[in-house]
Symmetry: C4
Subunit: 210 residues, 4 copies
């Protein structure tokens, strides 16, 4: 939560409590996801319970994608607040806006879980991918705001570090936008795109990462 | 949570754990709000599910106003604990009283959500605005206590910074009091006032903020 | 969470993460209490909803006593970890034991809420006061362990500070024991004792506090 | 959360926010366990309620084992991040993978609670011990990754400290694997092994611990 490399002890750092609060909200939102996986009613036999557990696959899938996506958002939040060392009124506000969307994600996840495999699954996937799209947009808004006030908010950040993050984040909204658009056409394709976005983060990063 | 500007490493700071605990409680209360948005029962058709999701508007509205108000209370808590650098027994107690009220807010939010649009919505809005009024009062009690023991609790704070916060906070209780009074007369007007209080924080601050 | 007076930056402090984790568990347990206050079913009229809200008094009372007691336990935990600056395997274990009991408290609170005013309320109050008694005992165990290893765990603490806390804590277990014993005889008296224990913390402290 | 012995203030430490987030997720997962202990329906008489409370033993047992195991995982996480002082992309990812499994544990705990003592309890214990096995494996993956990049991630750690942890952790996966295998043969034996793993941590450590 506190002394991080790049922010030596002698350097003013305004952002620690903002980060702590964000960590709290993100940690809670990500952990509440499991509450949407409901234990099946008492089964009559062992095979019946196995079947019931298998039928929970939409809940497992929703948990997996949402946990991965929120986890990656946390990791990105962590990355940008290594550069942002000062806060301002509007930085706090855009961060609250981002948290407002992120803390809402357990609801679309639950909706996805309830609709997947049913005739109304399209609704679930539209809302789910739409919620991720909006959250990604607020997240980019936070970064755009920080970049456009870089002199005040990131006095110690190297310009290349800022540009590298900007380049990387640029891909988020179109990718989530694609998942959202696909939800109207082909629900499976939309889910695959959402899973790929999470996987993309895992794989090709290796090369670029120090 | 820790080293913050204005509290240089060499300076005693008693308040870090109090802030960490408060951050935790506020972060959890704000994130629990989403649990009150319940996924509709399985719908028979896609349009039926869209309708059911639309009928959840009171839940969305309650989430929005409560999240914004609690988020602003966190931001204010953050602001005043940049000045308060020492704790005392009664500071801890008034802070606990504030948290007692704040952690209760998911209940009136749920009540609002269940009653809005029903004949008994007046009850929901009276309780909701009343809960915010009481929370705002305990919050001001915390600040008033800190101000009246400023020599002990805020040894390093500039008097102007203290006075500026006092001036600003003075408006909170009457504003929430107005929303509470309006709830008995016109429920919609009461909700509009609550939303305006949150918006007020967003807008005119720009000028005064460093 | 971090740099606290009495623990200057140059001094080793092992306990910060233990405190952070404890803060997290306590903050969550205290905030989960509100989930036990369930919104009444849709009422037929405004007076009917007011009645239903009034009938929730056991839930409000349980929330109040549990929040106050857990809040005070947090404040005490905060007090003793200003003195404890090093951890050991058994300190971590006794702290986990304390957290195990504390994180369980929402269940007896819910049981109290469901039974108060019903014929089986004695069961609820026995379990409730018993849970607080056990939690207070594990809490004292934590302190007793720290005191008996003071040389290792509290190398910088003044002996008078240690003794003052010991004197104060000595009263906890008998007081909760009294509430527990009374639960078998007179349920109201038991609840009054529990409320008084919380109030005692608020009132006579004033004089002794620096 | 922050300045810990072995990480002096002047030394770069990348891991504080990763630890804070992990603390948050673990603290929430461990505290959510209590929500699975459901208050019995209103009982007709005092003895009936005592019986109903006694019948909740699977819930108490699940709470106990899960709390102890998650608590020990936290303590171990705490231990290894005293050595790990720098992060990398893949450290963050393996840590997220570990948290993904850990935050899932309330679900198998609830499943155990619902099935224990019923004909389908084997399913509950297989899933429960299997979930702990997988979590222990991801936990060891995290440590293995850190060890194999020790030069980058643990520049200040003494090799003996690293080897001592490696030796200790080596026993985890086979122990949980045994519990998992036993679940197919003898459910009680599997539970006893899980309880013994937790107890092992408590007892023989005394000697080795500083």
């Amino acid at each position: 939560m506190v002394l991080r490399s790049g922010k030596s002890p002698g350097v003013d750092s305004d952002t620690t409590r903002l980060e702590a609060f964000s960590d709290g909200v993100i940690a809670i939102a990500i952990t509440l996801l499991v509450l949407e996986i409901r234990v099946p009613e008492e089964a009559e036999s062992v095979p019946a319970l196995w079947d019931a557990l298998r039928d929970l696959w939409p809940a497992y899938l929703g948990y997996l994608i949402s946990f991965a996506t929120i986890g990656i958002m946390w990791a990105n939040h962590h990355t940008i607040f290594r550069l942002i060392t000062r806060t301002s009124h509007y930085l706090i506000l855009t961060n609250l806006l981002f948290l407002l969307c992120l803390a809402f994600l357990p609801f679309p996840t639950a909706l996805l879980t309830h609709t997947l495999g049913h005739p109304d699954e399209r609704v679930g996937i539209i809302v789910y991918s739409g919620a991720f799209l909006v959250t990604a947009l607020t997240y980019n808004l936070l970064w755009w705001y920080a970049v456009s006030h870089a002199r005040d908010l990131m006095p110690d950040a190297a310009p290349e570090a800022v540009q590298s993050i900007t380049r990387r984040f640029r891909l988020g909204p179109p990718a989530y936008g694609l998942a959202f658009a696909l939800a109207f056409i082909n629900t499976t394709a939309s889910l695959i795109v959402l899973a790929l976005i999470a996987l993309t983060y895992v794989l090709p990063y290796a090369a670029r990462e120090r």
